[in-house]
Symmetry: C2
Subunit: 242 residues, 2 copies
Amino acid sequence: MRMRRRQGNPFNVNANSSTSIDTPLSPNMEDYMENISMLLKEHDVVRVKDIAKKLNIKMPSVTAALQKLKDKGLVDYEKYGHVQLTAKGKEVADTIYEKHSFLTEFFKDILGMDTQEAEQQACKLEHHLSSDASNRMQRFVEFYKQEQLDSQQWISRLDSALEEKRLSDLKEGEKAEIVRILGSGPLKKRLLEMGFRKGEIIHVIKYAPLKDPIEISIKDFLLSIRVEEAHSIIVKPLKNHD
Amino acid sequence: MRMRRRQGNPFNVNANSSTSIDTPLSPNMEDYMENISMLLKEHDVVRVKDIAKKLNIKMPSVTAALQKLKDKGLVDYEKYGHVQLTAKGKEVADTIYEKHSFLTEFFKDILGMDTQEAEQQACKLEHHLSSDASNRMQRFVEFYKQEQLDSQQWISRLDSALEEKRLSDLKEGEKAEIVRILGSGPLKKRLLEMGFRKGEIIHVIKYAPLKDPIEISIKDFLLSIRVEEAHSIIVKPLKNHD
DNA sequence: TAATATAATTAGTCAAGACTAATATTATAT
DNA sequence: ATATAATATTAGTCTTGACTAATTATATTA
Ligand SMILES: [Mn+2]
Ligand SMILES: [Mn+2]
Ligand SMILES: [Mn+2]
Ligand SMILES: [Mn+2]
């Protein structure tokens, strides 16, 4: 469910042409704020060129953005001049950066992603988290990092879990061991009856992606299975020489 | 760091005017796929009107979207006809819905948000998660829901944590108890020396938002503190009659 | 079957946010 | 102090994905 801002009504006469102030910042504008703030922490003079480089865009785009952000009272900026944040602007930037930080910690320290990917993910998601969700998640990250006990347990389990695939993701000719079967209803029961059990070795005979069914063998039995069903069978691919 | 798609080069002569196929789906297009799939699970005939209603947009927007999705080979659709998903389209929709599901579980069952907010958050974030992050997070949710032991501990701690604020979020006249002080460097040391200790009661005397400093009292001492410092003091507001 | 109501499409507009090309300003080097 | 280089701005274009108004096609009802 989405709320899209109503926009572009040509008959809205109270035009208030500069709708600038007060409407929430778009993800892109938030990134401008965040990155200007970061640049200001490193150098005390920030130029259009610096922002363009950091955000990997061209200078005219930056100029346009700065004009909007100035209208909103978030940056101090005069033509051809240097860029500063207003008090309000700093608040905004800090709020965003805080989300960036705990999200990064979450992806890095809890989910075990490497620094760069973690940062990237964080910098995308930060613009879409409600403040309630942010609070809760921030608490959660703090909490989890204190209880290092079982987080160890989790991390070690994660590594092997990441080697797992779904049967439907295997390619023709691949072999794999069944790790577990998702679901709980009659579907799971049927799969068990067909011979899909934990530990069994599967060999994919024929698999045309998107075309049902997949043909496989389990200890010399030939079986056909629909993609949809294969989707809920978790396997661990075997190296070729097994 | 962002990658923006390069766009709008008027001199790109290999125009390939229908750049349609193969470029990744935008968040909005992903929502179309997801919701069409949901509608198809309930009714076996899906009309433009249904999609418009579900997504809370107008019919012409839907028509335009369907034309694009058809170009990309994701929907079966003829003018004035009913809407179906292609095999590829189903795959796409399922992938998105899977993210939607475990994200919802995360916000609901781990962070304790109510169903509706959890769904909303999930449906925003689902479009921005890499497949690696998705995998890890899905594993994490599964793992966490099995170890109900300490998740209990966490949930109960969360409730009280959500009553907490930062000193910088209090309004003039409010009283609060210090819960803890964030950070670790010399800043924290200085705050402790000033008398900010766990359990102390704070009374905010004067606070003009965005204007340093904040004036407060701790057991009859008057103190001034900068917003930035107040930001790292976690407090629990007291009811008026305390 | 004809008249009406509902549903869907087209045409044209708008805002955001990127881009290029051309121009203007400021900084640096001779 | 001037010439050149580096930066920044304007003007105009493009795509995406909304919107309204007008038109066309399909369904329903008399
Ligand atoms: Mn970001
Ligand atoms: Mn960020
Ligand atoms: Mn969504
Ligand atoms: Mn969703």
